[in-house]
Point group: C2
Chain length 338, copies 2
DNA sequence: TTGAAAGCGCTAACAC
DNA sequence: GTGTTAGCGCTTTCAA
């Protein structure tokens, strides 16, 4: 663990130096009205000379407040996620919270780390990785620390959620792919189930089925570019039977396109139309120019922080489940773009 | 700020429930040897029943230790950076530290946030954004909180640093571009100076000059893909006068390539050889297949955390400045690849 | 306005 | 082994 060498200049030292009591020091730094201008000035001056900093942790102990919050994330080194976390963190900071960043790749890790967060008396937490067990959610509930889940299953009673509208996604993808008249569609989903990305694929499949055009499913080893490149081989084999494909992730789409062009000399969108999901920065890169469905990472993050913050100030209100709308972004991997 | 509704089950409650003293509770949770197995078991059982969690913040107040550390980062939504932060955070956690994530885009923000970190009694901090002022570094020194700078100017006495070897980079880029016999080189650097990326460009320029082949400089608006796409226009104009170009960032390189291919119908490497820097994941994508210079983000992060941790345990030792080696990655944007 | 005193949740001597 | 006491750095009654 951590040694801590702080030179221990405390409110006591400042008080002594300024010739006032410790209460006065406290008042000076919590802009209390119960202090005269002279006292405040004396205190501030003394504090500066001594290099004093209020210890917020000690303060929190006394006031029974905490401005620490937890952010639990997996795959932070991924374009969408990193954007999401960036704005989640900055929104937290803007609102006066201090985010502790916990990276967890497996459900087990999530479990351990989230549990640990309780020891730090966090005011709330935002989870954008595998969802923790209901056991943990319940503990959070009984400790009354708000937890908001991003794009995770909302069936866990007690947690607030922010998530994209799965049904809309399926309909939209189907619509975007259908505009040019194509009817033979496929969808790619990752092998390891993920509530949101597996859900998108399922939603698309449902819409296709309802339209009497059952979609073929390709299972990729993960959600990454490499996984897309990998499954692109199988897709190449089926090129003649397919009009369009919905990739549950932009990264997957990019990998697929590269494989198809490289090994199958396929032209996109002429030979196959492609629709991705996320609208990561790379989707707009000229080599891809991917038609996709945007989920707004910034908005998602802001919503999550807002929900958490509202729940912190009003712990007893009903859990809220906010649903986020998604937008079609037409670029050049579909034929009809309007 | 944050209300905190923790249901206040304290060591006192557990002690009462277990029929022992609070010291015993403390001992049970800090695996002290000074406790009998029976007592420990009783305590653990009582704690579980009550849903007790040790308050680490209160503990820290008493033990004068803190396992909180700060990570200050800019441009987290960028491939290299997100990877770097991911492993920095996970390394911290692995070592028992809890990273507070602070995102700061401007030097002013960095200043404010770093200062704020002192209020949380952090055991140390890792900065991978603009470097804070020497005033702050000095404050950190006097409070004896270690600060390690990644790829920032090391002239600030007192801070530890981890950075890539700038001289090696220039030589390497020159060498990689020279293998095919080309002699007319250029380099791209961002408008807004950055210690590391401006340094790379300067280093390359020096080596070129020393070889009697002064390099042309293109100034891009930033370090991003879009900036590369932008300056790619100017580079297209000079295509006939150039054999190779060193892009101080992979993102820049990718943007340049896309622009050159799209608007100038340029073939790479036939018409122009390109060498990037970083080796982000996207550099390996088939549409680019970029020859580049790898700086190992994982290693960099691990080094930074290690340096910080060593400095925490031994605050009085001399600041260490570790220099990181960089590796050539030959792919297909240069003609001779061995 | 100001200060004295109590106490947040915890651990660390110190005695038993 | 175990309990008692004091105290970490801070804020907050409560009197003055």
């Amino acid at each position: 663990m951590a040694h801590k060498g702080r030179k221990a200049v405390t409110s006591f030292d400042v008080a002594e130096r300024a010739g006032v009591s410790r209460s006065m020091v406290s008042r000076a730094f919590s802009n209390s009205p119960e202090i005269s201008k002279e006292s405040r000035d004396k205190v501030i001056a003394a504090a500066k000379e001594l290099g004093y900093r209020v210890n917020y942790l000690a303060r929190g102990l006394q006031t029974k407040q905490s401005d620490l919050v937890g952010i639990v994330v997996s795959a932070l080194d991924t374009p969408y996620r990193s954007r999401q976390v960036k704005v989640t963190a900055s929104e937290c900071i803007k609102l006066g919270y201090r985010p502790i960043l916990l990276t967890a790749e497996t459900p087990g890790e999530v479990e351990t780390l989230v549990a640990m967060l309780f020891n730090y008396n966090v005011a709330g937490m935002i989870i954008t990785s595998a969802a923790p067990s209901s056991e943990i959610i319940n503990e959070a509930r009984s400790l009354s620390v708000p937890v908001v889940l991003i794009n995770r299953d909302s069936s866990e009673a007690g947690a607030d959620t922010v998530q994209t509208d799965l049904e809309q996604i399926g309909r939209l993808a189907f619509d975007m792919l259908s505009r040019s008249g194509g009817k033979r569609f496929a969808v790619i989903e990752p092998e390891t189930p993920s509530y949101s990305v597996t859900g998108r694929a399922a939603s698309f499949r449902d819409v296709c089925a309802a339209a009497g055009q059952p979609a073929q499913t390709f299972v990729a080893p993960s959600q990454s570019y490499d996984a897309g490149y990998d499954i692109g081989g199988a897709i190449g084999l089926s090129l003649a039977d397919l009009d369009g494909i919905f990739c549950s992730t932009d990264l997957l789409a990019l990998g697929v396109m590269d494989r198809l062009r490289h090994d199958w000399n396929a032209r996109i969108p002429e030979d196959l139309e492609v629709v991705g999901f996320d609208d990561i920065e790379q989707a707009a890169w000229k080599s891809y120019d991917l038609t996709t469905i945007r989920q707004d990472a910034d908005e998602q993050a802001r919503l999550a922080v807002r929900v958490m913050s509202e729940r912190i100030t009003d712990p007893d209100r009903e859990p809220s489940h906010v649903s986020q709308i998604v937008t079609p972004i037409f670029r050049n991997t579909t034929r009809r773009n309007q």
